[in-house]
Symmetry: C2
Subunit: 406 residues, 2 copies
């Protein structure tokens, strides 16, 4: 191996995820993560080893690289895998091609024109339904027929590491008819994964479940921050708005769908049978272990959730087929959130709302404090990885600290 890869690294030779990084001496450019390093693709391009216009590696986002198509992007990934494992390859004895991740700054990997958030975990939808609506009929009638989704805000999606301020907004005190204004008292994370489209369509065109994999470039971790008190007051009838659009964080490395291929598993049985345009063949779920940790200011990390992406009722192929069945067009770089990924166990719930069950079961922290929701100074960290037969493919982390409201 050309570069040392720590055992259990998310960024093994089987992964080769793409991202945008900068260093003290040089502006943002494309790279791939390998072990604790980044292979600088703009620098590799100088070796004249690629047969396409490598100006795409000098861009501030990966959109133009992705636009080259999977024939090329998959070949780049395969070539790098081959070169890294060959001690006499073009990458040999060229330490200048590698940057320590600890010495790099990560940036948004893609420009996102449109962001859609789904609601595809049955456990999450059921939990929320129990708390906010009718415990006896927690799951709404449309939920098993439609991969329910809504449009989110693209502008406020930021990369892991950027601290954000607690949002302010309107909320309604219990038993009051007069709303008040102030800092949210119900700041929450949502453990999600997001996929990024790698191919555009024109208005009027649809993507079938069979075609979907070809349109999905890769995946990231997504923390879809939510302000539950703002959400509760504003969301009827048109859905969440200010409760969500103050920020969402994504992990910086896009793990390709091809790297995740070995971790495909069967999804939950869908009953009643879905309409033909939502039916699919083969395995479309992915076994990706997920966890969430909270680091209170001045304390150490405490894991509060273990979940798995394989729990999702609706898969990405169904989400994309549904999204486009009416002719809605998609662009390269668009982001699609899974919705909060909750499992059946209480420790697998993907939000504080569910973990502390609307504040009725506060989480005890190691420093003696309790958490119903997220406190100022808390850092929330999400991690995800797949592992099978000695192969590990991971996402690293998406991490952000909450600063007090301005």
């Amino acid at each position: 191996m050309i570069v040392d890869i720590p055992k259990n690294s998310d960024f093994s030779i089987h992964n080769i995820p793409f991202g945008i990084f900068s260093t003290a001496d040089r502006s943002p450019r494309a790279g791939v993560a390998i072990g604790d390093h980044i292979l600088d693709l703009a620098a590799v391009a100088q070796l004249d080893v690629f047969d396409f216009n490598t100006a795409v590696f000098e861009k501030q986002t990966l959109n133009d690289f992705i636009d080259l198509g999977k024939n090329i992007t998959n070949k780049v990934r395969k070539d790098i895998q081959k070169w890294l494992q060959d001690d006499v390859s073009v990458l040999a004895n060229k330490p200048q091609l590698f940057v320590r991740q600890s010495e790099a700054q990560m940036h948004m990997p893609v420009f996102i024109n449109d962001y859609t958030d789904f609601y595809s975990s049955m456990e999450h939808a059921t939990n929320v339904g129990k708390m906010f609506r009718d415990p006896e009929n927690a799951l709404l009638p449309n939920w098993r027929h439609i991969p329910v989704g809504y449009h989110g805000r693209a502008s406020s999606i930021v990369v892991s590491g950027q601290a954000i301020h607690r949002p302010k907004g309107q909320t309604i005190p219990n038993d009051s008819k007069q709303p008040i204004f102030g800092a949210s008292q119900g700041l929450d994370f949502e453990l999600e994964m997001g996929f990024i489209t790698g191919k555009s369509t024109t208005l009027g065109a649809s993507i079938s479940t069979q075609q979907a994999d070809d349109y999905i470039f890769g995946m990231v971790l997504l923390n879809d921050w939510s302000a539950r008190d703002i959400q509760k007051w504003e969301y009827v009838p048109l859905g969440p708005f200010l409760a969500k659009n103050f920020a969402s964080h994504i992990s910086p490395w896009i793990v390709t769908l091809e790297a995740l291929e070995p971790f495909k598993v069967a999804g939950p049985k869908q009953e009643p049978e879905v309409l033909p345009y939502l039916q699919y063949e083969g395995y479309k779920n992915y076994d990706i272990n997920l966890e969430v940790g909270i680091v209170p200011e001045g304390s150490s990390e405490q894991t509060v959730c273990h979940s798995n992406f394989k729990f999702m009722y609706w898969n990405m192929a169904q989400q994309l087929a549904h999204h486009t069945v009416n002719g809605c067009n998609v662009n390269i770089g668009d982001l699609y959130g899974s919705g909060t990924i909750s499992g059946k166990d209480e420790n697998s719930y993907g939000s504080m709302l569910e973990l502390a069950w609307m504040g009725t079961k506060p989480l005890k922290m190691k420093d003696g404090t309790e958490r119903k929701f997220i406190h100022d100074g808390d850092t929330v960290i999400m991690r995800g990885h797949s592992q099978k037969e000695g192969k590990r493919v991971g996402f690293g982390e998406v991490k952000a600290k909450i600063l007090p409201a301005t």
Copy 2:
């Protein structure tokens, strides 16, 4: 006057709206509408009359021009007004600077990163509440406190003239629990206006109602197409999704806020009093006459709605203040829809849903047919203009034909 301006033209000397056009011999570029002509700004720039980098007029969108700031964009508008009225100005005897609108193709005036749709007409919200929810409590408790809004799809916003196909999707037949898939039977227009931000903010920053005018570059007409049968089945609990994102049309000319200044009027009294961050001073509503016509295939246009933008309960300054009060960042070119603009009179309702009252009062057309919703082959045209003391400032039209589902 350098160019002939027909009496009652929307594009009078008082207007000077900006847009992007192309001609058979030349690619898209910036222009202003004047009478039946377009003044080619890229060509005017060749006269060396502007003291900024005029490459902005050669771009495919106005975003970079708008980014110059209102000091410059307003001066361009004022200079053009002055030059057009001066028979010996730099524009005199240069017919090559003018293109007939009938010989130009209009394009999207801006690149839209994010699209937000509000719901700010009390009459519309009340009508929808009566039909879809509880006639006795049609207006939801939050409506008088919050300029309710939600995120829409940016990718499918297209410019006037582009025909679109009727969307397909899931709907639920009355008294059934099993949804069906097919072409929407409830295709509807929504008469809206949209404003476009002319200044960006960073994540965490807010825009006050006092600052809002400075952040609004101008306005367009907006037809926010809706599929009512799809909407009814999908929209609980996260809001409209496929019922809206198959297409929205905007008019091609952005009328600046400065051109609309003479038409400011007082808005409706807001009771109960709104929270301090939503309070405002001065006039923030605009007296803009609106109308909607339907042209059945092979027949002539029939006006089905007369409304006015001044009816809006929530104004644009309040919408923008609300949108950013949680720190959500905005970008130049972002579009904000008003929501359907309905008045009190039955002929002022801004959608077929309301005009034909959920199909119970079909509209009789001149060709003998009836309309509950929009038919294949129908062309829907919206127009808007302000008029006062002999000054007319208008938007032209937003127009689109509905093709059968694919």
